[in-house]
């Protein structure tokens, strides 16, 4: 079937990428891709709009950063602690928020995430506005030196790929089917005897843990962790990534994440390139307008491409077939 070929192609591209592109940028793409996929698990498959995912992403980053920088723990321990912290946070937040639905659920998650932001701002170990700097990369299992960008890239690739795979398996599993049933018609699922709250909570914790994995990895890759990662605009950003890529599709969020991160980082370069190519000076100032472009994409997606890029392309393809 086509599947193995597609996966093989993806793997080859991913393995070859760091020789062509800047490894740190690529690793950032991978981390955000995982973050978006983790978020999509909740919104796309369980139908829960969580407006506070930054709390897991940044929270795990801080815990991992603290473990690695201040406590001097090895790489694996730091990442694991970050994931556990995110899962725990997810358990607490989920337990409180699940009781309500729809917009109230979203609001509670937002409020709880703001409390996490406040904690990050005040806690001495995070250094508030200055951020947690100097997070060491260390060695993988005491053997592989991760200071080398290339080595770290392959380790991050392996871990994020495992994360993606876990999400795919979850979606296709019986658990995933129940989640989708809950999303489609919760009263019916309840009437069928499913303990809906339990399923939702489990999905929440899983999503939080994976978002935490992404956050912890990113903290190690970039070597610092700042308040930007726990701010509500980060929660908004991951919603954008998922929306642009395609909610409820497996690969959509990855694409959405790549697009948004590339936009933020490369818009300036793109502007300069266009300015030189077309001799229109105005393009050079494009780098300043990341917010405007992001906003435009957001609006365009909500008005016109509600299914996201992947969703729309797939719908167009299946329309052509029939």
């Amino acid at each position: 079937m086509r599947k193995p070929i597609v996966i093989a192609v993806a793997l080859v591209l991913a393995l070859a990428a760091p020789f062509v592109g800047y490894p740190v940028f690529l690793m950032k793409l991978l981390c955000f891709g995982l973050f978006a996929c983790a978020f999509n698990l909740l919104i796309g498959y369980a139908g829960l709009l969580c407006f506070g995912h930054a709390a897991f992403f940044g929270g795990a980053g801080y815990v991992a950063g603290y473990a690695l920088a201040t406590l001097g723990l090895p790489f694996e321990a730091g990442i694991l602690l970050g994931v556990l912290a995110a899962a725990l946070l997810g358990l607490v937040m989920g337990a409180v928020a699940i009781r309500r639905q729809g917009i109230y659920f979203a609001m509670i998650t937002l409020a709880l995430a703001q409390m996490v932001y406040f904690a990050a701002l005040r806690a001495p170990f995070t250094h508030g506005e200055d951020g947690l700097q100097g997070i060491p990369r260390g060695r993988l299992f005491g053997l592989l030196d991760l200071g080398n960008d290339l080595s770290l890239y392959y380790v991050v690739l392996a871990i994020t790929a495992a994360g993606f795979a876990l999400i795919v398996r979850t979606v296709h599993s019986p658990f995933g089917q129940v989640l989708r049933a809950i999303k489609e018609n919760e009263p019916r699922a309840i009437s069928l005897g499913y303990e809906v709250d339990r399923y939702k909570l489990l999905a929440f914790v899983l999503s939080a843990a994976l978002a935490g994995l992404a956050g912890a990895l990113k903290a190690v890759v970039l070597g610092f962790e700042t308040l930007t990662d726990v701010h509500w605009t980060m929660s908004g950003l991951v919603i954008l990534m998922t929306l642009v890529g395609g909610m409820g599709t497996l690969a959509g969020p990855i694409l959405g994440a790549f697009l948004v991160v590339a936009l933020e980082n490369k818009l300036g370069d793109l502007g300069n390139f266009l300015a030189e190519a077309t001799h229109v000076e105005w393009f050079a100032s494009l780098g300043e307008s990341v917010g405007i472009v992001t906003g435009l994409i957001f609006v365009a997606c909500v008005m016109l491409f509600r299914r996201g890029i992947v969703g729309e392309l797939a719908a167009a393809y299946s329309r052509r077939r029939t």
Binding site: R2, A17, V20, V24, F25, D130, Q133, I254, F273, A314
Partner: protein, 398 residues
Amino acid sequence: MKRTAIAIAAAAALSMPAQAQVSGDTVKIGMITDLSGVYADIDGNGGAEAVRMAIADMGGAINGKKIQFIVADHQNKPDIAASRAREWFDQQGVDMLIGGTNSGASLAMAKVAREKKKVFIAIGSGTAQLTNEQCSPYTVHYAYDTVALARGTGATMVKQGGKSWYFLTADYAFGQSLEKDTTDVVKANGGTVLGSVRHPLSASDFSSFLLQAQGSKAQVLGLANAGGDFINAVKAANEFGLTKKMKVAGLLVFINDIHTLGLNTTQGLYLTDGWYWDQNDASRAWAKRYFAKMKKQPSLLQAADYSATTNYLNAVKALGTDDADKVMAQLKKTKINDMFTKNGEIRPDGRMVYDMVLMQVKTPKESKGPWDYYKVVATIPGAQAYTTKAETKCPLWK
């Protein structure tokens, strides 16, 4: 599965940025500062222009190697600063990085520069940690630091009778450093600190913080913030009648701030500075050139940008290489004698030490025109103003 294929193809296309440029035959200088926020006026684009002036004065090239200059805005976010610095060192072949305002960003960039073994000159930021607890063999701290400010303005205010203090502090590395250093000075001179309140960087409304200060009944309101924050705090203090009950101590003040607030509001204010455009013929000459381009007089930071760049380029020229270790050694053994200062030198811990000046803002009557704002009160020798060898925690200077 088709969907995944489409996604992967598109994703692959997106993640192939341009080929990394390796510069070997150019001296590339990068500058990351606040170009659009609270500190944009005191350094910002003016500082970038000053660097360009220095490069132009060098002839644009050293021994045939072209000098290139790139600027970026860190928006007062340490993560943007650190990411950009890393990318520039890895991908753009930047040889020397100038750190603009914002101590948090500078600390982050100093760490990256240390990891990549490249020269980092911190000019706009104040935290003395850069050459103390967080000193690095690749960091040079130019212009000023929080210790010098505390020993200048702080000591003066206490000696003039301001014994009890209350701080309004910007809640990040700079404000915290400044509050701590000034507290030490106040206590050493027999004063007391009744309390402090932290405000977020670029706070929108200072009224509640100032009311807390008022409630403390301290004699002196110590403003441990700068730029736009300082301006807004002073305005609010006037609005709420605080200035009638407390003396305002501006711990970090630039000429741009006085220009914005006006002499009526700021007359009599003490401030510690390192350079004033009207201090001697050399400074006036350079300031005139700067004014022609920017239509405002340069601040301490903008002058320091020019001076630091010139001295760096001179070092590279003398050595014939931009190798970071060699350049750092050269910088630390060369005296600085230019329009910025006559007797500057860079110590082993990276601190550029020179004589600071205690100024007082003129009254409207004393001022002969716009930008004529300061009168000199006293000179503070460098050795007195900055952290001494006995006090330092930096292992590079033991």
